[in-house]
Symmetry: C2
Subunit: 725 residues, 2 copies
């Protein structure tokens, strides 16, 4: 478990992403989205909680008012993939639609030297052939309860900020514990509006998840890193899983999204129901400036050097290249994303808007003496804490073993056995009782481990720490013990048994005694570093986290006082509903179309002479003449999404699914902190493309039938009128 | 004839464009191109004169050294369209390839209420069916002679700038007159390197030009104003003419470009031989700042209001819409282009480069006392003149009747009869003996006139002058005579006989007496305004033109002293050769391909539901299944082009034609003043697309055979291997 300075309240998205299981969550960025101007609520924006949909706006602009039954149905048909994405039930038999890139980690884990499912794709024509995915958890939000009063009641008058923080933490842990005990459901208290509200979300948790279909990476990620985060686009970025319980497919006949055979219609009202991971739209200008001037440049440098290490590793052979490809993909994504965000922050026009908004907000507070007393100091408190953090940033950043998944897991194990001995309230974030099942599940995942790649990554990390902190830094001394970074990494990884699930299990069950006694070289290595992690954790908690959190909560309350629930809270990787229309946008001097077609896929492929990453899978070259090439492929809409929304269903008024979110356009990369409805777009696969490919390229008619709800009685002849456009 | 402040030395491209026959030259912007950093000669840049190709660079970078015979062949195969574009011989029988948008004015003139060739396109299966194009002139550059010494010898020591300017003008006119007399050839003295060199260019002039083929505007200009100036692109922007002499097709067997059946190959070396209209890469920072801060904003406003007037006129009916469509198209082009240029000028990075270049250049001059004495004052002289111009700009701009073609023609007639009575040296630019044949040709063109549209445009122009200058301005008083702008315009246009060629001819031959005695309302109107034009002309000549020209020439000489002919001169709508490679580029977060295909044409059309401007001609919908859809359509290359290059051939090392320039990408719109090889691209139609369309869409096999040089013995089966990509 990483120290909590890597958590939500920290400014940098990448910090937070690392928190979510390291690289796995980088991909959440792939659906990087759109953002909020408080002053521009007429735009189709907002990641609304299901208890607070903007019904008046929907009524006024679209003459549509969802009923409570509609909202409940949509909520219960929606799912969260705990590796960082979203999904939904799309048949009565537990069939779940999400992105290929959300399935990617599972494909990677299921692949062997014989079967590369990432490349080849996968199709289980029968249920018996569906493949179990170890280590994956999917959640369904079954209830939501406002617990703000109870959490706030824990804070007594006169408490210092740090005490108040602890008191709230303790109360939150208690609520979660009680709920878990009472219901057996995963129970998370969610902080909304920067502390304006606290809600208890209860999830039905699925862990028997089986892979049904994946089209293969080449077509799912056609255009590779180049086309990633851009539009027009030609990616068939979908995958199908089936949820099981007690060895049988889940009966989802009560709540699943019916399939639209028409797909998305230009101009129509659509909704995106999913789990946007994080936005920083309520952050202060001081926070954005630190992000722009210090954190992003440092993170981009780190990403570049880790990428270089992985490329070096890849060059050693085909197997190494296979092992590293997923992380390289995630890193490329992150680099492009953070660069886009950086450009947004460097855009004087956007920053001017943020400054005006902040000035207007501060003026509203200042005009009201009671508000000014209660909240007025928060901006300066945050600015001071950010200044302190900037000065300390290097230590926080380089006393860490980021990017080496097995080493992170080892660290989590060592921390786990220490933390669980403490009262729940005193533990580090991530180690509270209610969080332990998910943590244990992840720590005991049988996903494959690539020791040589771990070694390369750890070596790189240690080399960076040495270069930045110097050989005399106590952390560096403890990590290297006089060796070179390469030698220290080799010593830690070579001979570790942590790749074995059974060994990890034995350490967890053996507790602190077993861990302390272990002579496993990686455990020994991590044990030496734990004091420094805890030290940085404490420094960060005392000097930044507690102050920024408390001040941020004051601002959340202030915003709440001024704007109430007329606005939506920043994203928290919990279920939200966004609305908008299917619509092109002005782009690079011309206009981007509302949707693309199969014609465009072949155009882009041949335009580059079929060279990677614009090569087409053989089966797509063969199927060319069978396809109705004018079939819509991908489309864009104005729904407000961000990383974490990957795999979210796009539904219409009838709650029929018309598409599948998988990305945002390049103009949306500033979406973390500002929404600009003119150009920001969510990019989705059209349901018609999925059916066309399943039937004519993959010969998976039974699956297409299951999606469409019944076998088609008559087929529209290829090239004939489709009744659409 | 417009006053000379509308000429080359004026900063604003639109000023210059108006000079070139008003709106007709707007379209020259359609091939807006790429530009020059003196300090970055390693980029594929330069619009080189045929006497001074960068042979060393070509040798070093491409291992290719064109022979003199190669250069002569290319020069003599290349043509200039005097309505603002370029073209080339592409068969032994006088067949000439250029753009649809260069042919557009001719199509417009040839069209009737019965036959709209702009829309329908045109094909003459036999020579007898080819259509004569009145008023069009095509030039072939047959000789080039350096006359710098003679021009400079006319300037005597101690002459003031204005005297020196006049002396050069007189000498240039004399050279042109002598040459015309001696050879009968069109003879133009061209000012290169801002006065660093003067060259006598002699042209063989063709005036019997017949339309052979046009594909129709919808496919030639697919994507309309949206896609204009952008890439990826799907425009079949070509047209074919045939030149005649003495009633027979010109024998061009000596010099024409052989046709490449393979089209452009990604990565290959290519050349563009054509007539770039104008660049301002040698302009000073002060000039660019005036352009950015004053001239472009004013021009953009004017374009918008004229566009609005034409849209109002269009809304009156289908015939009105047809009449106005060409001008609206040109105006849209200009708005997009000038906006792009404005963005370039507002880009602090690009302006910083210009500033660094200027500083480096000034430092080189300052380091050399003789140079400093001779040239060092020029920058401040220009800056002072620009300041004066800025203060006077409104009068110059609004004491004018721009945008009303017939009114401009009337003005030219009134000025003509006055000017030709003066000694050649004292005349306004455009009225020198050598220029008179072209001027008379234009003034007597039988192209159709649309009086009601003229009235609308003149009314708009007068309304703007009234609004900007006030009712008491003497020009406004003379123009309106107390009436409203609408009434004054109606009075001037209603009842004019100037639409008649015979009437115009009678005025020209009748001379000043006939013009002075004329009671034609438009002549009467224009006569009242002439004194103000001449007054503004004189003010501009005395206070801006003479100073900026003289100082600009000093800088040209200074640049010549420092850099010699290692650099190329700014564009002058004379023949130049550019070189580069066929190459995609990073664009809007991803990469643009080197070429597009027919697949992409259909993708873009269906992506917009076949709605205008993305609708396809019926014949393209019908031909879909006959076409080999992976055939290259348009492609990009790094050749350095700009407006005026439209219709230029793209040729390979073998001097075979592989494509046809028709545009630049959006990133090239700053190309007037700076070249950025990373993203600036010239956009061309691939020769393979022309053949594919001629054979399979237009059933024009004989024409395809003429282009390809011989009937094909065997045809590559559709969909089969093409031996290419």
């Amino acid at each position: 478990m990483m120290p909590s300075y890597l958590r939500k309240t920290e400014n940098s998205m990448i910090f937070w992403l690392r928190r979510w299981g390291g690289a796995l969550l980088f991909l959440a960025l792939a659906s990087q989205g759109l953002v909020l101007l408080r002053s521009r609520l007429w735009a189709d924006q907002g990641m609304w909680t299901f208890d607070n949909m903007p019904l008046e706006q929907l009524k006024a602009r679209y003459n549509f008012v969802p009923t409570q039954a509609w909202l409940d149905h949509v909520r219960l048909s929606s799912l969260r993939f705990n590796n960082g994405g979203s999904g939904s039930f799309v048949s009565p038999h537990g069939l779940v639609l999400t992105n290929h890139h959300i399935a990617l980690s599972e494909l990677q884990k299921l692949s062997t030297a014989q079967h590369n499912y990432v490349k080849e794709g996968f199709y289980a024509p029968t249920k018996a052939q569906e493949l179990k995915c170890p280590g994956l958890e999917v959640d369904q939000l079954v209830s939501m309860k406002n617990v703000t009063a109870r959490v706030e009641a824990a804070v007594k008058p006169g408490m210092a900020d740090i005490e108040a923080l602890k008191a709230r933490r303790a109360e939150i842990a208690a609520i979660e514990r009680e709920s878990l005990k009472a219901t057996g459901l995963r129970s998370d208290v969610v902080t909304l509006y920067n502390g304006g509200e606290y809600w208890l979300y209860r999830y039905k948790k699925y862990t028997d998840i089986r892979l049904v279909f994946d089209p293969g990476q080449q077509i799912a990620f056609f255009g590779g890193g180049w086309d990633n985060f851009t539009y027009p686009r030609y990616d068939l970025d979908f995958a199908l899983f089936r949820l099981y319980e007690h060895g049988k497919p889940v009966d989802s006949s009560g709540n699943y999204f019916r399939w639209s055979r028409r797909g998305a219609q230009p101009g129509e009202l659509v909704f995106v129901s999913g789990n946007p991971g994080r936005t920083d739209r309520d952050d202060t200008v001081a926070q954005l400036e630190l992000l722009r001037d210090r954190i992003l440049p440092l993170d981009l440098n780190l990403l570049e050097s880790h990428r270089a290490a992985l490329v070096r590793y890849s060059s050693e052979g085909a197997e190494q290249a296979r092992e590293a490809s997923e992380m390289i993909f995630f890193i490329d994504n992150s680099i492009k994303d953070l660069t886009g965000m950086q450009k947004g922050l460097e855009d004087p026009r956007l920053m001017a808007i943020k400054m005006r908004q902040e000035a207007a907000f501060r003026a509203r507070i200042a005009a009201h003496p009671a508000w000014e007393r209660a909240y007025g100091g928060a901006w300066n408190q945050i600015a001071e804490a950010e200044k302190a953090f900037a000065a300390h940033l290097k230590l926080v950043r380089f006393r860490s073993v980021e990017f080496a998944p097995l080493v992170e897991r080892a660290l989590d194990i060592v921390l786990y056995v220490q933390q669980i001995k403490k009262p729940d309230a005193d533990r580090l974030p991530g180690f509270h009782d209610a969080q332990l099942p998910s943590l244990r599940f992840r720590l005991l995942s049988p996903a494959p481990v690539y020791p040589k790649m771990e070694e390369a990554l750890l070596g790189e990390t240690l080399a960076e720490s040495l270069a930045e902190l110097g050989a005399d830094d106590p952390y560096v001394r403890a990590a290297l013990q006089g060796q070179t970074p390469e030698a220290a990494a080799r010593q830690a990884i070579e001979g570790t048994q942590l790749a074995s699930v059974a060994f990890r299990k034995s350490l967890l069950s053996g507790g602190e005694g077993a861990v302390d006694a272990s002579k496993d070289p990686l455990i020994v290595f991590v044990r030496r570093l734990v004091p420094y992690f805890l030290q940085e954790q404490k420094w960060y908690d005392d000097h930044v986290h507690s102050i920024v959190t408390a001040a941020g909560q004051k601002l959340g309350q202030a915003r709440f006082a001024v704007y109430g629930k007329s606005v939506y809270p920043d994203a928290t990787f919990t279920l939200r509903l966004a609305y908008g229309t299917v619509k092109g946008y002005p782009m690079n001097g011309t206009i981007a179309p509302p949707f693309t077609t199969f014609y465009g896929l072949y155009d882009r492929a041949y335009s580059f002479g079929l060279k990677p990453p614009f090569n087409l899978p053989e089966r797509f070259l063969r199927a060319k003449d069978r396809l109705k090439l004018s079939t819509p492929f991908d489309f864009v809409n104005t729904c407000d999404i961000i990383g974490g929304n990957s795999g979210s269903p796009v539904i219409n008024r009838q709650a029929k699914i018309v598409g599948l979110i998988f990305d945002g356009d390049i103009e949306s990369l500033a979406g973390d902190f500002i929404y600009d409805g003119k150009q920001n777009r969510a990019v989705a696969v059209d349901t018609t493309a999925i059916i066309e490919a399943l039937r004519k390229v993959y010969h998976a008619a039974p699956l297409a039938d299951e999606l469409e709800g019944q076998p088609r009685t008559s087929r529209t002849p290829a090239g004939g009128p489709s009744g659409r456009r």
